[in-house]
């Protein structure tokens, strides 16, 4: 049976049969690279783009993902929002020079007024200033708790899923125990003994109770990924565990972790609010969206603006992170390009 080139493959490539010797094909390189016809027409714009760029520098998943992200409006918008949040979290006085603790009870629950675009809350504090200043605590809790949970959960989950055995059994049973702890009750017990009025005890508590969720997801997707043939192929090549984990398993197992972590970020900010409401999170005079939301909720009918502005800020923050996570997840999947 004569060798027939599959459709869409240049004849030239298949014709290169009669070379003797081993991989010593250097002399053929020039003829190989010049005059190679363009890619097949059948695979559409992706193919054209790839073949146009080939022959240039090597591309990898990460460089391609970054190229993809830079053109993705969802990513650009969410990154812009997050950058803005980070800036006002670091320097709230840039856009809100007032003091969030300067309140005038006489103006309690008043609506917007000149110089006070968001109105006043139940204590007569300026809602605009408090919302801007509250970003620091909320963003810190959300981002730090999510990073901590994602790092701890995915590293432990990844190792447990990959290596299995006794440590996996032990860690998996440990997550069962953590799942059994009710969040609010656990927060009341653990945080009530903490006297420090900063976000760090809250972050620590969320990481402590949050990691099992990511652990389970990471472990599951690592177990699914490690049974794939390409992992076997890498093992057959003699790849080390770290190479297999970082190059083959992590990129293929990270998507569900990103999705769950970005959604969890919102719940962590809300959890900070819940704990603050119960009096064990941040306490006044700290400023956070959670404190303001819980403080405004009793008189939502009289002064809805006092609730809506911090709640809106919270919603936008959560949405920005979820969109960012989505964009990153999609960029890491070449099949979606």
């Amino acid at each position: 049976m004569p060798e027939q080139p599959p459709p869409h493959e240049p004849e030239r490539a298949v014709a290169g049969t009669g070379m003797g010797g081993a991989m010593d094909l250097g002399a053929r390189e020039a003829s190989t690279l010049e005059g190679a016809p363009g890619g097949p027409e059948s695979t559409g714009p992706v193919a054209l783009r790839s073949s146009a760029a080939s022959g240039g520098r090597a591309r990898s998943l990460w460089s391609d993902a970054w190229r993809d992200l830079r053109r993705n409006p969802v990513f650009l918008v969410s990154a812009l929002v997050i950058c803005f949040l980070v800036v006002i979290a670091i320097r709230p006085s840039l856009i809100a020079p007032g003091n969030p603790l300067t309140c005038d009870l006489a103006r309690a629950q008043d609506g917007p007024a000149p110089g006070h675009p968001f109105g006043f809350d139940g204590q007569g504090c300026d809602v605009y200033t408090r919302t801007v200043h509250g970003a620091r605590a909320s963003v810190t809790v959300g981002v730090c708790a999510t990073l901590g949970v994602a790092l701890l959960g995915s590293v432990l989950g990844g190792l447990a899923g990959y290596f299995g055995g006794a440590s996996d059994a032990l860690l998996s049973r440990a997550t069962d125990i953590f799942f059994a702890i009710p969040v609010v009750l656990g927060g009341l017990v653990l945080l009530s003994v903490v006297t420090s009025n900063t976000v760090w005890p809250v972050v620590g508590f969320i990481v402590l109770l949050g990691w099992p969720q990511i652990f389970r997801i990471a472990r599951g997707s690592v177990i699914a990924a490690k049974q794939q043939d390409y992992v076997q192929a890498a093992r057959a090549l003699g790849a080390s565990h770290s190479r297999i984990l970082l190059r083959h398993i992590a990129p293929n197992a990270v998507a569900p972790v990103i999705v769950v972590a970005t959604i969890a970020l919102g719940t962590y900010i809300a959890l900070e609010a819940t704990l603050s409401y119960l009096g064990v999170g941040l306490k006044p005079p700290s400023v956070s969206w959670g404190i303001d939301i819980s403080a405004a909720s009793p008189y939502v009918r009289n002064a809805p603006h006092a609730l809506l502005w911090p709640a809106g800020a919270l919603a936008i923050t959560v949405l920005a992170f979820i969109m960012l996570g989505d964009a990153v997840r999609d960029a890491l999947d070449p099949r979606l390009r």
Binding site: E3, R28, L237
Partner: protein, 386 residues
């Protein structure tokens, strides 16, 4: 091919007694350096390069969640011995679940053998580790069955084919790798321009070519092909098979070709082994196996091969086996095939048949004189019967 060296005259025939295979010349090494150096030895064409002896793989069956206790074992591979000669293609056929793929994984050291030895150039690779094992991996590579799962979807073709060079940096200097990858793409009949593409942008046949290019990257001596074409369309199968034959000649490769498609195995193989339930039932040259099978299982398999000739098809005898393959966790005593064999007698349940040239054909020039693990081996021309 295989020289029948000596017959095992043990009083107690072991399950895995294998009188047919050649003598293993082991290499004595004490240090890792010596082991690595010994792997560079050249093997003449026609000499055994890989010698598998009494290979056993049992997967334990356990019960209990926290305190596991073993309640049995799936005997996936149960005493397999064969030689792979330099430059030849040894086909292994058998139905699903007979242990073919497990043999491949054992040869690649992807699974740890329960017992038995695999000698590569005289060294037992089941006992190697560290640098010596890595050196073996350079020389024995694998092509996987499913081209859709054997390529990492998140790596470019350049990264996939170039990964062997990252793991074995001594093979290609860093600046040279991209060129080498493009050469490999060319060798397997793909456009070298495709280097920056991802696997999903290719068809199944093209993906399998990428898998073959990855296997070739380290310039190995042996390629284990685990059903390399069974996931492909028939027309693409022919292309890939022809490519593999061409590469074998170009790079002087030895293939262990695992498949369940008898005609493809016949097309590519010099010798063929037939596996049933973790054991080799019959082994010989392709002519011996296909034209002069002596094991009833081989005969039954061959009688199921489609014949593209309506007249011949009408006339030939179909051997229809009854029942299912027994569970490899609880294989039948004696001959494993006896539960489905029309020739089975009491002896078959008591005595394990050795994989040896049947007495009646011994010393004759008959093509039926090849190793067959049957007490009642006899020729039966099932392919041409009319």
């Amino acid at each position: 091919m295989a020289e029948p060296s000596k017959l095992a005259k043990d009083d107690e025939p072991k399950d895995d007694a294998t009188p047919n295979v050649s003598e293993v010349e082991t290499v004595d090494v004490t240090t890792e350096e010596e082991a690595v150096a010994a792997l560079d030895a050249t093997v003449e064409r026609g000499e055994p390069i890989l010698q598998v002896r009494n290979l056993v793989k049992h997967f334990p069956l356990t019960q209990g969640i926290l305190f596991k206790k073993q309640i049995g074992a799936v005997k996936a591979v149960d005493g397999v011995s064969f030689d792979l000669y330099q430059g030849e293609t040894l086909g292994i056929v058998g139905e699903s679940g007979c242990g073919k793929s497990t043999v491949a994984k054992l040869l690649m050291n992807l699974e740890q053998a329960t017992a038995g030895e695999i000698f590569y150039k005289g060294q037992d690779i089941t006992r190697l580790s560290g640098r010596a094992l890595k050196a073996v991996r350079r020389n024995i590579q694998m092509v996987f069955q499913d081209p859709y799962t054997s390529l990492n979807p998140r790596m470019t073709v350049g990264d996939i084919i170039g990964e062997p060079f990252d793991i074995h940096p001594e093979v290609a200097p860093k600046g040279d790798r991209r060129r080498k990858v493009q050469e490999l793409l060319d060798v397997v009949g793909l456009n070298p321009e495709y280097i920056n593409r991802y696997p999903h942008q290719f068809s199944g046949g093209q993906r399998q070519r990428i898998g073959i290019a990855r296997g070739l990257a380290l310039n190995p001596e042996i390629i284990i092909c685990d059903e390399p074409v069974s996931a492909l369309d028939v027309s693409v199968q022919a292309q890939v098979i022809n490519l593999m034959e061409r590469l074998q000649d170009e790079f002087n490769l030895s293939y262990l070709f695992i498949a369940h498609d008898l005609s493809i195995v016949r097309h590519i193989s010099d010798r063929v082994g037939v596996m049933y339930l973790g054991k080799i039932a019959e082994i010989g040259t392709d002519e011996q196996i296909y034209e002069h099978p002596t094991h009833p299982y081989t005969q039954a398999l061959l009688s199921a091969v489609p014949v593209p000739d309506p007249d011949a098809r009408e006339g030939r005898e179909r051997i229809i086996l009854t029942g299912d393959v027994p569970s490899p966790a609880n294989p039948p005593s004696g001959c494993r095939f006896r539960t489905r064999c029309w020739k089975a007698q009491d002896k078959c349940a008591e005595e394990v048949p050795l994989l040896a040239i049947p007495e009646r054909f011994k010393g004759t020039d008959s093509p039926a004189a090849h190793e067959s693990a049957c007490h009642f081996a006899e020729e039966k021309d099932v392919v041409h019967a009319a």
